[in-house]
């Protein structure tokens, strides 16, 4: 499965989500798309160190669409509070991706023929790291 963080500008969310991904799942690949600012300068060195010490895998793409084109995941679940109905995906298969957009000012623009499955997450006041940790834990329990 792929845990995707899109448009992140800070290093802390990268550290938190990559750690969750590497600790919770055996077959999980952390994907970073379109990292900006501190995410590039501080986040990427943290990600590479985490991957080496925790034996994790990751991918870095300039956009979410590059990821979809190159990897072609089976199902793509996207956290979107305005479009989603369910709190989180029922289950995630090995070739599915779950996307956490981390840019509050810019909407993630998908250019794909693939059907996107939106879910609304848990609450407005949670940080992305907290929300992602609860969602991923729920998914882990169902595996």
């Amino acid at each position: 499965m792929y845990v995707v963080l899109d448009g992140s500008t800070g290093y802390k969310t990268i550290e938190d989500l990559a750690s969750l991904c590497f600790s919770f799942f055996d077959e999980c690949c952390f994907v970073l798309t379109n990292p900006q600012g501190n995410a590039l300068y501080q986040g990427l060195p943290i990600l590479s160190r985490l991957s080496l010490t925790k034996n994790g895998s990751f991918m870095v793409f300039s956009s979410i669409n590059e990821f979809l084109e190159n990897i072609n995941p089976e199902k793509v679940y996207v956290l979107d509070k305005s479009k989603g109905q369910e709190e989180f995906p029922d289950s995630l298969g090995n070739k599915d991706a779950i996307v956490f957009p981390d840019n509050k000012t810019k909407e993630t623009k998908f250019k794909t023929n693939k059907e996107l499955i939106y879910f609304k997450g848990l609450g407005e006041d949670l940080t992305l790291s907290s929300e992602a940790s609860i969602i991923l834990y729920e998914i882990k329990k169902r595996l």
Binding site: L47, R49, T53, M59, F61
Partner: protein
């Protein structure tokens, strides 16, 4: 050519140099596989911080590379190979053993030069692609 794979080359210098080769030849995908030493962190961080349109992959092993990227034809260079026939999409360089080659059906292309791994790869890319004069 779709991409270049660096396999079990635990050296920052190699990781940087091969990335630069990707940039020079317009290779859009760069995979680091079975890189396990923290000595490689400067090389990995160099690669990640470049603002090029090159997708970077970091995988635990060759099996994961295969499952996630599904290469069509993977080739490597060796003194004991055959001449290049047909096309390929990924080139892998590094410490492959016979088991890797058999298990993943890697085609071995003859490299008769006495050049080091970086120069030999560059020469192969120029000859096989005629991509660019350096």
């Amino acid at each position: 050519m779709k991409g270049l794979v660096i396999y079990k080359l635990n050296s920052s210098t190699y990781i940087k140099e091969f990335y630069d080769i990707c940039r020079e030849f317009g290779i859009k995908n760069y995979a680091l596989v079975s890189i396990s030493s923290t000595d490689c962190l400067p090389g990995i961080n160099y690669v990640l911080k470049q603002k090029e349109d090159i997708n970077v992959y970091f995988f635990k092993d060759l099996n994961e590379f295969y499952e996630r990227l599904r290469p069509r034809a993977l080739v490597t260079l060796s003194k004991y190979g055959n001449s290049l026939e047909g096309s390929f999409d990924w080139l892998i360089v590094g410490h492959l053993d016979r088991l890797d080659i058999e298990q993943y059906n890697i085609k071995v292309i003859k490299d008769e030069t006495r050049l080091n791994i970086i120069a030999g790869t560059t020469k192969f890319l120029i000859e096989s692609h005629g991509a660019r004069e350096l």
